[in-house]
């Protein structure tokens, strides 16, 4: 059984000014473009599933992860190239808040790439060390069509003291494996307990396919990353997450695992109504939640602590000791209870920077 997360039946709608760009040319190899009047985010809701819009981005292409009040953030810097995702995870904020099921790519991404190149020219001490894509989309969902990752991987291979992280729930990585990367790109896979992957992420590649893709990436010398986010309470969750940790051990024995992040399910209160209307069969909102210090609904702290401890223990048995395991957007208190220390945002970012520098030599 194999699921392909790449969206089929796409209609490419392209603003005229981007017709001659490398992005349009790459997309044109598999999709016939249709003309699109210049538009802005307010116009996106007029388009729906199956539409791929190539339009101008008027904001910043590079921005720090916004983090969240009262919780430690890993301090990544985001390269923003598009919006939307067709994977359709039932916990995903993109499902509810983009206001459209269409996919959006920024036709002027070359401007963003130029900004990024400029930033990377600065000495490492004067700029961020870790970058990622895919805050508002999956890093590799459309990459076979866009060719964007190859450009980024090459750019980072030529840059000292900087690491790129590509995060995905797909297994669309084989087209990248022959690229020269110098260990400066981490290919990361979002993973979960088998039942969650099957039921709540049904549009993503199956867990085994993701882990096999991670295995092939590791064999090609890429450091790999793993993100358990969101951890979700479900029947037999302890066994489920332990099973995934065990599968990771089996697939990635001897691989360079850069880091593993953990984050418990959290959501803005208004997401629940939207998602239950769309997916009445899901039970992930039936758990017990409290309002966190950032205004998001979270599992009660003691339950989160228990989930993290369970998974950290299983991962420590499955992965080499040097693998950095950290929590995404967690409170100082939970850090102390799980790891016996609170690194604070600055300390966590510095720790991950050090790990990144180890990887890129």
């Amino acid at each position: 059984m194999s699921r392909d997360a790449s969206p089929g039946g796409l209609t490419l709608r392209l603003e005229e000014e981007f017709r001659k760009t490398p992005l349009a040319e790459n997309l044109g190899h598999s999709l016939a473009p249709q003309a699109l009047e210049p538009l802005g985010p307010a116009d996106y809701p007029a388009f729906g599933r199956g539409d791929l819009l190539v339009t101008r981005h008027r904001g910043e292409f590079i921005k720090p992860c916004p983090g969240t009040l009262n919780y430690n953030c890993c301090g990544l810097t985001i390269f923003h190239f598009g919006l939307g995702c067709t994977i359709g995870c039932r916990y995903c904020i993109l499902e509810a808040y983009l206001g459209t099921a269409a996919l959006v790519l920024f036709g002027n991404v070359a401007e963003g790439l130029a900004d990024l190149r400029e930033l990377l020219r600065r000495p490492p001490a004067e700029r961020p060390r870790r970058f990622c894509t895919g805050e508002f989309t999956d890093s590799l969902l459309l990459d076979k069509r866009t060719g964007l990752a190859a450009e980024l991987i090459t750019m980072f291979a030529e840059t000292e003291g900087a690491v790129l992280e590509l995060k995905t729930k797909t297994d669309h990585t084989d087209h990248l494996l022959g690229l020269k990367h110098k260990g400066r790109t981490v290919i990361s896979f979002s993973v979960n307990a088998p039942d969650i992957c099957r039921c709540e992420e049904s549009g993503a590649a199956p867990l085994s396919a993701r882990l096999k893709a991670a295995q092939r990436a590791a064999a090609a010398g890429f450091p790999v990353g793993l993100h358990f986010d969101p951890l979700i309470v479900h029947p037999n969750w302890e066994e489920g997450y332990a099973r995934t940790a065990q599968m990771i051990g089996e697939h990635l024995a001897g691989a360079e695992v850069a880091w593993v992040s953990l984050g418990c399910f959290r959501y803005l209160p208004s997401l629940k109504e939207v998602m239950l209307a769309r997916h009445p069969e899901t039970s992930i909102y039936d758990g017990e939640f409290i309002m966190g210090g950032d205004g998001k609904m979270r599992y009660p702290r003691p339950l989160r602590t228990r989930m993290y401890r369970t998974l950290v223990k299983a991962l420590r048995e499955a992965l080499p000791e040097k693998t950095v395991i950290y929590m995404c957007m967690e409170s100082p208190r939970v850090w102390r209870d799980v790891f016996g220390r609170d690194p604070e945002t600055e300390g966590l970012a510095a720790e991950l920077d050090r790990r990144a520098m180890e990887l890129c030599g």
């Binding site: 909102y285 409290i290 309002m291 210090g293 979270r298 003691p302 339950l303 602590t305 409170s331 208190r333």
Partner: protein, 324 residues
């Protein structure tokens, strides 16, 4: 819109019985007061009639007609709109005719649904200002949904015992669940915020436990509390209902909160020192509220706090990760 003034129309005598209502302009209104006024003062305003496809529709004056018919009258003065008078404009006139009286929420919901079904969303939007309906799409969606409530719900809307948002939500409930919820609201009249919270919990419990909401509400604890409302009063009954639903929705949090309360009690703090803990257990910060009237009292409180710092029970409370 055609150029038109009502004053230009000559009054005529219209037979009351054959007139058909055009739209649901009145809901939950008694006619006794109006009948009394007509008896004393006569009919101050003629009815408004619109002819379409050979039928005569009563555009404005349904309550007046009812009051007149109760008095045994079969005809009444009326104004007949000219032939081919546009339908949308006829609706606007009908609304304008009732503007002074205003609309209760059941009428607003029913009228809005009628206009959307008759004229489409755009046509209905032209009439919204006459109906006093805000341009908020959410409000309009609530009206559409709330119009589907059964009689008991519409009556509660009309009488202001139910708000539109809650009504819209309850309209999606199965009739067998709606009754117990409305009965609960009727009996206790909780605030809108409480209604929302209770419905959230009820829906969550029902989904999680594969029960219908009526079954959740028909437990002994709630039945007893509602039967006792006269004796213990509404606020205390509301608290019983709230606590029951919260605990059933959040068994883990309830257990953790109880354990924490027991630990706080074990500290045996004096009244002058009140520990303020985060009820969500997120524990991003703790508070200690000290109250004293004199320097001597301050000394005593300070001593208590100093001792607290060393207390193993206090440390356990602060460091407790609930694993034990």
């Amino acid at each position: 819109m055609i150029d038109f003034t009502l004053a230009a129309l000559a009054p005529m005598e219209a037979e009351l019985a054959p007139l058909k209502p055009l739209m649901p302009s009145s809901y939950g209104r008694g006619v006794e007061g109006l009948a009394e006024s007509i008896r004393a003062l006569g009919l101050l305003r003629p009815l408004l009639i619109w002819a379409d496809g050979g039928e005569h529709y009563l555009l404005a004056g349904s309550l007046r007609r009812e009051a007149l018919m109760r008095q045994g009258r079969s005809v009444a003065p009326a104004l007949m709109l000219p032939p081919d008078f546009p339908r949308e404009q006829a609706f606007a006139l009908a609304l304008a005719d009732n503007q002074e009286r205003g609309w209760n929420q059941a009428e607003t919901a029913l009228l809005w649904r009628f206009f959307v079904e008759t004229l489409g969303t755009e046509g209905a939007a032209n009439l919204a200002p006459y109906l006093g309906l805000a341009p908020s799409p959410k409000m309009r969606e609530w009206c559409l949904r709330a119009a589907g409530l059964p009689e008991q719900g519409l009556a509660a809307l009309a009488e202001g015992r139910l708000d539109l948002e809650t009504g819209a939500r309850l309209a999606g409930w199965a009739p067998e669940n709606l009754g117990p919820a409305l009965n609960l609201f009727d009996l206790l009249n909780p605030s809108k915020q409480k209604k929302k919270q209770w419905l959230d919990w009820l829906e969550d419990i029902s989904r999680r436990e594969f029960l219908c909401s009526a079954e959740v509400l028909e437990v002994e604890d709630i039945r007893t509390a509602l039967a006792d409302v006269e004796r213990v009063g509404r606020p205390a009954t509301e608290e019983i209902i709230r606590k029951y639903l919260w605990t059933r929705r959040h068994p883990l949090l309830a257990e953790l909160a109880a354990a924490r309360q027991a630990r706080v009690r074990a500290l045996a703090l004096p009244r002058a020192a009140r520990l303020e803990l985060d009820p969500s257990l997120e524990d991003l910060k703790f508070g200690l509220n000290l109250t004293f009237a004199t320097p001597a009292e301050f000394g005593q409180v300070a001593e208590t706090v100093a001792k607290l710092r060393q207390s193993p029970d206090f440390q356990k409370l602060l460091d407790d990760d609930h694993e034990s």
